[in-house]
């Protein structure tokens, strides 16, 4: 009786084949419609007039300048947020202090504020008619409509990525290993390099990859502070917009395809690292 029952047993959570198929099909259709199709469209549009036109759009001086600028901005903003993110999550996860909740909320602020507004803040602060504008002008320092402004806006927008990734991880890992290292005679610096950092390296890597993807793709905040000076203060997303508005579709999609490829490379790097160090990753999460 019992055996018979076990054989004919259908778990309550196992849906029928029909439902399963429908769910999978819906998910796939969604992915296809909203992710794969646009991505393919970018490349199709970019290559519409052949590879020569595609290539010409990329080596054109303004495009090269935009690519360079994007890389420079990311190369400054990402390390800054890496340092800040590690420092902030270290102090939030490992210490108790007054105002900790306020700090956590502040870190999340860039997620909740519209990027356009964060750009405007910098214009109001450092612009010609802004709070510090006259002083900066007298010193010959230009922030708005120049690279420093782009970096500031990007740093602001990508502020939370590293910290958000690390705080829960570090909180979960607790203080005991650090305490053990200290009792064993390690200095604070040695403890950080030999114990804390190896334990968070994967979370840190994810945070940096996400931060980098956003830094290169940021549009709103950067658009406000850039001034759209061709060949000087246009990053790739801004350059794409200008080309698109000029009905130069091939060039616009060609530059967009480079951005898309940067994102794809980021994803591939992440997957390769996960695959390569999966066992170690599981061990540190233990």
């Amino acid at each position: 009786m019992l055996v018979k029952k076990a054989v004919g047993f259908t778990p309550a959570l196992a849906d029928s084949r029909w439902v399963k198929g429908l769910l999978i099909a819906t998910a796939l259709a969604f992915l296809l419609l909203f992710l794969v199709l646009p991505l393919v469209a970018v490349f199709v549009e970019a290559l519409r007039r052949g590879t020569d036109a595609y290539w010409a759009a990329l080596v054109e001086p303004d495009a090269v300048a935009a690519i360079k600028l994007t890389l420079i901005v990311a190369a400054i903003a990402v390390p800054m947020n890496l340092l800040f993110g590690v420092a902030a999550s270290w102090c939030i996860a490992k210490f108790d202090f007054r105002g900790k909740d306020v700090l956590i909320t502040l870190i999340d602020l860039p997620f909740s504020v519209s990027p356009v507004i964060s750009g405007l803040i910098y214009v109001l602060l450092f612009g010609l008619h802004g709070l510090m504008g006259p002083f900066l002008k007298s010193q010959g320092i230009q922030i708005i409509f120049a690279v420093p402004g782009l970096v500031l806006a990007t740093v602001f927008v990508t502020f939370p990525f590293v910290a958000r990734e690390l705080i829960p991880l570090m909180q979960e890992q607790g203080n005991e290993e650090e305490e053990a290292a200290l009792v064993l005679g390690a200095s604070g610096w040695q403890t950080f390099w030999r114990v804390t950092l190896p334990n968070i390296k994967w979370g840190l890597l994810y945070g940096v990859l996400l931060c980098n993807a956003r830094a290169m793709g940021e549009f709103g905040a950067v658009s406000v502070v850039s001034g759209h000076i061709r060949g000087e203060t246009n990053t790739m997303p801004l350059h794409v917009e200008i080309l698109y508005n000029e009905y130069n579709l091939v060039a616009a999609f060609a530059v967009a395809s480079v951005l898309a490829m940067l994102a794809l490379v980021t994803l591939v790097v992440k997957s390769v690292l996960e695959w390569r160090f999966g066992a170690e990753l599981a061990a540190t999460r233990h």
Binding site: E176, E177, E179, A180, A181, L182, V183, L184, G185, A186, S187, Q190, R194, V195, P198, N199, E280, A283, T284, H286
Partner: protein
């Protein structure tokens, strides 16, 4: 190395974790800090290690003031309840860590480190696990790695925070014996924290019983068990029957008059009397006044629940003795008290 704790006080917000604690740890002894959770035992241990700061008081390590020293300067070995092994390092690297982080001048050569680590892994019987990661070891093995790692810095004192707390009963017992033997071999001054009275009594040379940030009693296991200094110690160490009573003319009587217990002359008025279950004698008696309300057999022992005119009692004896008495649930019996302690009502 001896440890001298005097007047150590520690406050967490409004909670007083340690209230002016004085304690002397003798060189080479194995001392247990025993108490319920919240009694301050772990805080005291962490202050000794330098992982927690005392609000006031002094701590002498080998006669030198140590409260201002950092953990690394104190050279203590610390074993954490949850092992705190470095999860990204192999067993070998865990044990070698303390030697590798020394300043260049004091650091042993790598062959010397290797020799030391393997020697320690031999000692904790884990030499063939040197290449494993902590996640690949059982709880008992991890705790032995933690011990080897603590010993690797040649500490003057070994501090253990609930070292067996996270292990299952059988492993705990084995590891306890093993630690006792290890201590007999290397004779390092050791302090361990536990809330398990059996563990403290079996393992330690001396037991410190703590409650609410104060030390209730310090003594050998036999002393604290046989002559508890306070009602708390009596209740905390082992099973106990507790009665509210009134003492007059050297006799403590319960309110319903069912029980009278001889009390020493120092106590008068409202008091609490304690009798251990195995100090309670039973004999069959048709006149009562007790009645057997239940019998539980636990391994070789039997626990007998008695209803003494509405007063619940528990007696304990071995099963042979019980079967010789022939008592069964529902039988009437007489109750004798072989030994009891009476403390004044707090």
């Amino acid at each position: 190395m001896a440890i001298q704790v005097s007047g150590i006080t520690k406050q967490f917000g409004t909670f007083c974790a340690l209230d002016s604690v004085d304690l002397e740890v003798r060189s080479g002894e194995l001392l247990a800090l025993l108490g319920p959770s919240g009694s301050g035992k772990t805080t005291l241990l962490r202050i000794m290690a330098g992982l927690e700061f005392a609000d006031s008081g002094s701590l002498l390590l080998n006669g030198e003031e140590a409260l201002s020293l950092t953990p690394r300067e104190r050279q203590v070995g610390f074993v954490f309840q949850h092992y705190a092994l470095f999860r990204h390092m192999s067993v070998f690297d865990n044990v070698a860590f303390g030697m590798k982080v020394r300043p260049r001048g004091q650091r042993p050569t790598s062959t010397e480190i290797k020799r030391r680590v393997m020697e320690l892994l031999e000692l904790v019987q884990l030499a063939h696990f040197a290449d494993r990661y902590p996640a690949q070891l059982s709880g008992g093995q991890r705790q032995r790695v933690a011990l080897a790692r603590a010993l690797a810095i040649e500490p003057k004192v070994l501090l253990l925070d609930e070292p067996f707390g996270a292990l299952d009963a059988k492993v705990r017992k084995e590891l306890r014996r093993w630690l006792r033997k290890l201590h007999e071999d290397i004779h390092i001054t050791s302090v361990f924290v536990t809330h398990d009275q059996e563990e403290a009594l079996e393992l330690a040379d001396r037991v410190v019983v703590m409650s609410q940030g104060r030390i209730e009693q310090v003594g050998s296991p036999a002393e604290v068990y046989d002559r508890p200094a306070s009602a708390f110690v009596y209740e905390f160490l082992g099973q106990v029957n507790r009665f509210d009573c009134v003492v007059a003319d050297g006799v403590a009587r319960t309110a319903n008059g069912a029980l009278s217990i001889p009390a020493d002359g120092t106590v008068r008025g409202p008091a609490i009397a304690y009798v251990r279950p195995h100090d309670l004698g039973l004999s069959p008696s048709a006149a009562g006044p007790g009645r057997v309300s239940g019998i539980h057999v636990v391994g070789p022992d039997a626990r007998i629940e008695i209803d003494l005119a509405g007063l619940p009692l528990e007696a304990e004896m071995d099963r042979e003795r019980l079967s010789a008495l022939g008592l069964r649930p529902g039988d009437l019996c007489a109750v004798h008290i072989d030994r009891a302690r009476v403390f004044p009502q707090p």
